[in-house]
């Protein structure tokens, strides 16, 4: 087990180095990166001063090492619009983004499993066809458009759900105000429903199809037939014999899904004015506030890498075939 964890940690470290290389390349690809760190009205002297201060006058490898060292100290530079360290701005927005990502994950996985199993058990019926057609459609709808349409229909016309707003849940939890967090949970969920569905619907569709085919494969196995022939109830067969073995591909998919959902969150936050990293990035893009864009992207990548690591370790625990 420990060798596995250490090997996996090393892999993650390499990936993190890769991430810094990629983000460094992204900075350099447009020519002199100094211009990305000064405002448009900066004077020549100011530009020259910034170039020297950030070390952009040095050779590339020195620049990279300095860049990597600054990242190691979580120093992404000063935000051009907020006039304070970019990392601060990003970390303030992080909890809202994580709330939305996790909530959409719950929707994507929590609903995909029952829908997929249901469709597999009713294979070939109209219900199965309906669910699968919906799933096909779900994989073709842009998440932000789904958000806009829900906002128009459920928010503005029916007035069932709020079209924007956010009640923090994670922030009080982290700060140790447990009672406040629990009390605000229902409100928090109320505001999460529409953005959560918008982000999660694509994954829900894809995963429902995956669960269905995974179940169908298992249901065709001999041991399931044996279980049935022993007269065990259908529910017991599905839960104890089939689902237990269909479970592994589902866990793998959870890991892959996180990165995808994070990407979706970035776009959907814009639609619902969700106060997370996505909205921050959007505003930063428009104001060409590069330190904030870089800090956001790298922090999200780190979140993704850490989550993947955790899921891989869980996977190793539940799959006896992974060598420990």
């Amino acid at each position: 087990m420990w060798t596995f964890i250490i090997r996996r940690l090393l892999q993650s470290a390499i990936v993190i180095v890769g991430v810094t290389l990629i983000s460094f390349t992204a900075l350099q690809i447009g020519g002199d990166p100094t211009y990305l760190y000064v405002s448009e009205r900066a004077s020549d002297a100011e530009i020259a001063e910034t170039r020297v201060r950030l070390g952009f006058d040095k050779p590339l490898y020195v620049q990279y090492l300095t860049y990597a060292e600054r990242l190691a100290h979580a120093d992404f530079g000063e935000s051009l619009t907020h006039k304070r360290p970019a990392i601060e701005v990003v970390l303030e927005a992080l909890p809202a983004t994580i709330e939305l990502t996790v909530f959409s994950m719950i929707i994507a996985i929590g609903l995909a499993i029952p829908f997929g199993i249901f469709a597999a058990l009713h294979r070939g019926t109209a219900l199965d066809g309906g669910i699968m057609t919906l799933a096909m459609l779900g994989q073709s709808i842009p998440n932000f458009w789904l958000g806009i349409m829900m906002m128009l229909f459920f928010g503005l016309n029916l007035r069932w759900l709020p079209i924007s707003g956010h009640v923090p849940f994670l922030m009080p939890l982290v700060q140790g105000h447990f009672v406040q967090a629990i009390v605000s949970l229902p409100q928090a969920i109320y505001f999460l429903i529409m953005p959560g569905i918008a982000v999660g619907f694509y994954s829900l569709s894809r995963n429902a199809r995956l669960v269905r085919s995974s179940m169908l494969e298992v249901l065709g196995q001999d041991y399931v037939r044996t279980a049935r022939s022993k007269g065990i109830s259908e529910t017991a067969v599905v839960i104890h014999h089939a689902l237990r073995n269909a479970w592994l591909p589902i866990v793998t998919m959870i890991g892959l899904e996180f990165g995808f959902l994070l990407g979706g969150v970035v776009v959907v936050e814009m639609v619902f004015s969700w106060p997370g990293i996505g909205r921050l990035v959007f505003n930063a893009i428009n104001q060409r506030d590069i330190p904030v864009v870089q800090a956001s992207v790298i922090i999200l990548a780190l979140v993704f890498i850490v989550l993947n690591l955790i899921i891989d370790i869980i996977y190793a625990r539940i799959d006896p075939r992974v060598k420990l």
Partner: protein, 312 residues
């Protein structure tokens, strides 16, 4: 495979002449029959032909200049007839521009970016996969580790980071989306190449002294085309979605070029006023196009691998 021929056992460099001709004809007619039987792919092709028609002949059939503003006719409802008898089928946007014309022009960007990005990503990925699988060793290691690093990075974030610096532009977005896709192709091609390079016909090609490039591109590559088309079809769908997302974020093409994604971004300002048509029609255009590519991909997968059809 239960198909009449086993693609992997035929050396495409020598598969010519009367029988090959006949075999190809049989393949095409089998494809057509399977498509008619499945029905949905036919609808998908019909929709894609309409989109293609709009993309090519858009300027000829569009009723108005997509960028001409008309302050007097801002936010006109769909089916409005203006005083000068201009007919606004899908209404106008916040600047009084004809939505139907913008939609027609928008199809150009979606298709262009979708197809070119796949060409870029497919080319890089295929070459990387062939080289990686055929040579193995450290080359394989390096290529696959780079692929791992890229996969560890949510793609849209990568695209945002590069496009912010590069600035908007069709070429930039094609390159970024294309480079974002190469890993999928590389992995598939590598896996296929690994098994194909053991086959007799590849060994034979080596034995008669074919150059490596000939073996890679003329002997192995034609046998990988099946899975590649399946991936490409799904990929066009997801690239079109990504392009729409990036345009929505303001990172796509310059604002003067109408795209479905940027139309949706502009519609946000009018949402509270409940001007639904600004957001509805561009979205439907994206959904129909992407759905068609997804349906085609599904059908292609079943067609190339009938075994999968029995389980899914």
């Amino acid at each position: 495979m239960s198909t009449p021929i086993n693609a992997a056992s035929i050396d495409p460099t020598t598969d010519t002449g009367y029988f090959a001709e006949k075999r190809r004809f049989r393949e095409w007619s089998r494809a057509w029959k399977s498509m008619v039987k499945a029905k949905w792919p036919l609808l998908a092709i019909a929709i894609l032909l309409v989109v293609l028609f709009a993309a090519i002949f858009g300027p000829l059939v569009s009723p108005a200049d997509p960028n001409r503003q008309n302050i007097m006719l801002r936010l006109a409802d769909p089916l409005t007839v203006a005083r000068n008898r201009t007919f606004y089928l899908l209404g106008t946007d916040g600047l009084g521009r004809d939505i139907f014309s913008r939609l027609l022009y928008g199809s150009r960007i979606s298709l262009l970016v979708g197809i070119c990005a796949i060409a870029v990503g497919g080319a890089i990925g295929t070459i990387a996969g062939l080289v990686s699988g055929y040579f193995g060793g450290w080359i394989d290691d390096v290529i696959m580790r780079i692929a791992d690093i890229q996969l560890a990075f949510p793609f849209i974030l990568l695209a945002i980071m590069f496009l912010v610096v590069l600035g908007p532009g069709v070429v930039n977005i094609i390159l970024v989306l294309g480079i974002g896709q190469w890993v999928t192709y590389a992995r598939i091609v590598r896996a296929q190449t690994l098994s194909l390079k053991q086959k007799e016909f590849v060994e034979a090609a080596r034995a008669i002294g074919d150059r490596t490039s000939v073996i890679l591109f003329r002997t192995i590559l034609p046998n990988v085309v099946g899975p590649l088309t399946v991936i490409a079809s799904f990929n066009v769908a997801s690239v079109i979605l990504s392009e729409a997302s990036l345009s929505f974020l303001g990172l796509g093409v310059p604002p003067s070029v109408p795209t479905w994604g940027s139309m949706l971004a502009e519609s946000r300002d009018q949402l509270l006023a409940n001007k639904w048509w600004l957001a509805f029609f561009p979205g439907i255009a994206i959904v129909l196009t992407v759905l068609s590519f997804n349906i085609l991909g599904d059908w292609l997968r079943d067609f190339f691998d009938p075994r999968l059809k029995q389980t899914s």
